[in-house]
Symmetry: C2
């Protein structure tokens, strides 16, 4: 094991530069820990001349990441370019074809092509490692795939996009509407080049799809995720939820049910006193539940050069130590194609609506809910503003279908102004 | 890799029985995940006839755990007997001598003999794995030794004994003195057979010693820990600390300093709004800090059959998958013998004292602190009870030595009744 492990690193953005920095700074420590030198053979990025604050002169340069992946002096292809298709995928495939291991931070690529890539890798006895693809520096892939290997995993849940959590907590703290805080976050550089990846919940859903596969032995299925972003979360809902003892989070939940695999990424209410409820700003938090271990909570920075590079290094050290193993915790050809199950699992719901100032208005709302089979746990009506009264309702456990029936029926009552809001309350 | 991995399990208490149960129930899943069958060859425990709620008839029985460890049909010796010396250590050594791997939950044995056992193991290319020895089901050994392998670890900190945290939070919730809650916890079976292991902080310090070694590449050094249990934590301090916005926790802290390795296990104050401050009941929480990753928080059940068995299974699966590697994250012969450094690192302190009803009493206290170089951040004096007034002080950052000077000087003022209490306030 004293042969050096030779890396080819493609992509030198903040994460890539961070990885190079750690490999240079901690070379001796990493060799001591893993038992062999870890060296960079070659690098590749869009611009050869850009100053990245780290000395790159001793590494061979390739303009083409595919050529980098194919170099004879590269044992491990480190893919930090991003993008679900294009050069990242082509270069990853090129590396695997030649029997080289891959370390990647690319959640989009794995969420869309994880199964095919895993099959390719395992046919050639290669590994693909991707700790950095989920929740930045939090070693959740390792915790789930290895730490909980003795468990039947019952649920995976969490806040997996720091930008969304920043926006939601900032809205509450500053009392500002979504649009203002979105603009502020964008100006601060907190959002992806395509902000829809963040606020549309897509980035977080990519991560959830990967964790689901690891947790339940299923093929990655991004398309099976019930997905809703945070664009429609209003400051009114944040304030009203707080009034009822809840916080609104963009929450990912994956759970195997009798009808199939339920995967949801959507704004939910969680108790303000729960660990998830107390999560402020750009931090990530993942809850893992297993039949033996109970609930494990992991919390840390979900993004940033240092945390993400830390996760990439974890994978590189694993490979240097000879820790191999299946891409998704068990051989890719044993992963099942689970049927997506929509969230028919009953839950309590939060409803907010604006009631017109008519006699019997509240009674009509209550009657509609009763007819839809939705039972009320708590209700609050506030004073009228411009002839309308805000009403908040927390229901007992009910199905989404019953809630949808009630929402449709409100339209015909002529006492509800505008569209009522319904958000799931997640048990945590 | 399709050869079965054959286990010999010594110790069939709640954890041992839990491990057997999982191995039986999840045999197919474990084989799929690790690529090979995991089977029990033989077992050993004190009583052969005791009903443990699990069918043991298909396993060979050994009265002597050493004989079990030496059996030809045992690849991995699973040590779940406990005890720092005696049969656990003898059988572990016997297994290693014959080149067998060891999985153990025995924090006391590792804290006292970890270095010698690691040297023995690595000389024979064996592994010793011990996820269950620290914080039950929380995969903290894996997170620290593998997940943070690319980091220079800067601090490890946490609540590592659920029984102590139960007692402290129960004292606060019920407003009961230590002795009452201790008796209650003992009656509920929450404490070790020798409760001093829990409330004296010894069990938690064992865990801290193990984490320190993994974190800082140092030889396990239990004797170098500054150790104080929770026996002297009073309900008065818990109430007073809460009044100032803090919780009292039995907190373990390990940190490499310029003067050596600081390891402390002692009651400390932490902000009530911090994750550690909000930790209720028997749960464990570990904070890991690295130069790249920042702070990672791990939380979960620190004890119990299921969580501990989950951790044991994680180690067994690692071995089945061929994940080997050094016992303490780097070869035992590279671990340094760090000088223990007492906690001279400055911190804010909480002081509580009882002031006699004399003119100028508070001025004298303030003067003593000033002369000792201790600067006051916040002070509260409450109304007199029986001619004495409780005084709470939160200092600015100062050294333990200066605090001790001040405490000694209070004796000569004749205005302080009884012994003042001084507790460190930890930055989290």
């Amino acid at each position: 094991m004293s042969q050096p492990l030779r890396l080819g690193i493609a992509g030198l953005g903040t994460v890539g530069a961070g990885v190079v920095q750690i490999l240079r700074k901690q070379a001796a420590l990493l060799e001591t820990r893993t038992g062999r030198p870890i060296v960079i053979s070659a690098i590749s990025a869009r611009s050869r001349t850009k100053d990245r604050g780290v000395n790159l002169t001793s590494y061979a340069w390739e303009d083409d990441p595919i050529a980098l992946a194919q170099r004879d002096d590269v044992d491990v292809f480190v893919e930090l370019m991003g993008g679900e298709d294009g050069p990242a995928k082509a270069a990853t495939e090129a590396a695997l074809e030649l029997g080289k291991d891959v370390v990647t931070a690319n959640k989009a690529m794995l969420a869309m092509h994880g199964q095919a890539l895993a099959v390719t890798a395992e046919a050639r006895n290669c590994v693909i490692k991707y700790e950095a693809a989920v929740a930045g520096g939090i070693p959740v892939v390792k915790a789930l795939g290895e730490g909980l290997a003795g468990n039947e995993v019952t649920r995976v849940m969490g806040v997996m996009n720091g930008s969304c959590n920043y926006i939601l907590t900032r809205m509450e703290d500053a009392g500002l509407p979504y649009a203002d805080v979105f603009a502020e976050a964008d100006g601060l550089g907190y959002l992806e080049a395509d902000p829809q990846l963040d606020v549309g919940g897509i980035d977080a859903a990519h991560k959830l799809a990967i964790l689901s596969s690891l947790a339940f032995g299923t093929q990655v299925n991004f398309a099976g995720i019930e997905l809703e972003g945070i664009e429609r979360v209003s400051i009114e809902d944040i304030t009203a939820a707080a009034d009822m003892g809840y916080k609104i989070k963009l929450l990912g939940v994956a759970q195997m049910t009798g009808r199939g695999l339920e995967q949801r990424m959507q704004p939910c209410l969680v108790p303000e006193t729960s660990p998830l409820g107390q999560l402020q700003g750009g931090t990530n938090m993942i809850l893992l539940e297993g039949d033996a271990v109970g609930q494990i909570v992991l919390r840390g920075a979900g993004a940033g050069a240092g945390p993400t590079a830390s996760a990439v290094l974890s994978d590189i050290c694993d490979i240097a130590r000879g820790y191999r193993g299946s891409v998704f915790g068990q051989p890719a050809n044993t992963l099942t194609a689970a049927t997506p199950a929509l969230s028919q699992r009953p839950a309590a719901y939060y409803l907010r609506m604006s009631l017109k100032d008519k006699p019997g208005a509240l009674a009509k709302v209550a009657a509609v809910l009763g007819e839809a089979g939705v039972s009320i746990d708590r209700m609050r009506q506030y004073g009228h503003i411009d002839d309308c009264a805000p009403v908040l309702i927390v229901t007992h456990k009910t199905t989404r279908a019953d809630i949808d029936h009630a929402l449709a029926a409100f339209d015909n009552t002529s006492v509800v102004a505008g569209d009522p809001v319904a958000l799931r309350i997640e048990e945590v």
